[in-house]
Symmetry: C2
Subunit: 208 residues, 2 copies
DNA sequence: TGGCTTATTGACTGACCAGTCAATCCATCC
DNA sequence: GGATGGATTGACTGGTCAGTCAATAAGCCA
């Protein structure tokens, strides 16, 4: 309706969410004030409470929006009849590209939710867990097909994979790792290469 | 002096630090009050400020104490003339054993400092970085010796390795992963096996 | 014993900030 | 044009809590 006309009613709700991303990324959720978000959005203090019941709910919304997209993506990838390596590459790719597209948002999600398992992580543990579960399932299938070693717990493997990616993102977020265009691409490959290389059955396997 | 006599003067400073670990682990740094720490330590509110200039400094102290031990340990491991795999295994072992010995402390360090790179992580980025740097150096040496593939950035490899371990700990901390005695031991092996397996030069290597 | 220093106590204060609310604005429709 | 309801405003309130401080206890030396 309102979106049929260009430059129609400005979407304040969206403006608030976008401003919150910038403010949370810059100052952190706990350190920022609600008025900082309102100011950044160019909106009166009280308007935030017209659209959201609390400061916390703003963060929840940001997280759920993005995490939902990722879960959907993993689900789709899992359905495709392609080799594990390709599936994991698709997941790594999606996450790295998400960072490329909106580093601030990814910073907020990782720093304030995913890695803050007290406070917010607790609230969203179910969602987060779902991602691990699906990755674990991909690993399990690969084991059943004999592509991955069977003696490794799939859940641990999933954590290892996801943890490796998230740590690389964290490295970028805090300027510990170079993040040129090619660094991002190479990181995707590297993580997949490393983890798959370690998990695959093959001549590389060293028996104890 | 005072420690020569058993049951001598009770060390309130230590009591406060230990209580803080429990309280931070249970409630989180931001969510707990200074009075919670004092109560847990069985000590008056003001005494905390006799020993520490601020609540924050209590956390800093806890982190620096433990992180210092880890850095020293990595330094020593690095000096030994043993294969990479053994060096990385020693590091993984140390971290997992630290968790076994004091899960609350590790939870606090990971959740409140290492993964909270806003706020406290920022303060200690130097210390944290130092760990990555040293692990990266171990990888570099392995590459020079021809044991690890040379086309992988050592810094990325270090992040991958450390990230994988930390994620497994996080899994334990939040009850996402089983943590029986044997699970801990297998996790050590698995992380090292996986990461080394992926990084090592060898017949397992798939050329692009 | 008296006098000095350090440890310990807990009531109090000052700042801060999330969330409320009554008032105003504005689009829309009859 | 005026009535209705959602959008928008920002001053204000209530509660919370980190950190202060003046008072008291406990150790210690001469």
């Amino acid at each position: 309706m309102s979106s049929t006309r260009a430059k129609a009613v400005p979407d304040r709700r969206r403006a608030i969410l976008d401003a919150a991303v910038r403010v949370f990324a810059r100052q952190g959720f706990h350190a920022c004030r609600v008025s900082d978000i309102a100011d950044e959005a160019g909106v009166a203090y009280g308007l935030l409470y017209h659209y959201f019941p609390s400061k916390e709910e703003v963060l929840n919304t940001l997280f759920l929006e993005r995490w939902g997209v990722m879960l959907e993506m993993i689900r789709e990838v899992d359905r495709k009849p392609v080799p594990v390596r390709e599936k994991l590459a698709a997941i790594a790719s999606f996450i790295v590209d998400s960072y490329r597209h909106d580093p601030d948002l990814m910073k907020v999600i990782i720093v304030e939710v995913t890695r803050a398992a007290n406070s917010f992580g607790q609230t969203h543990l179910g969602q987060i867990r779902e991602a691990y579960r699906m990755i674990g399932e991909i690993v399990t299938k690969a084991q059943q097909e004999g592509v991955f070693k069977a003696d490794i717990d799939a859940e641990f493997a999933a954590m290892t994979f996801y943890g490796a990616i998230e740590q690389v993102l964290t490295g970028w977020i805090f300027g510990l790792l170079p993040q040129g265009e090619d660094d991002l691409e190479r990181a995707k490959q590297m993580v997949v290469e490393t983890v798959c290389g370690g998990l695959e059955v093959g001549p590389g396997t060293l028996p104890a």
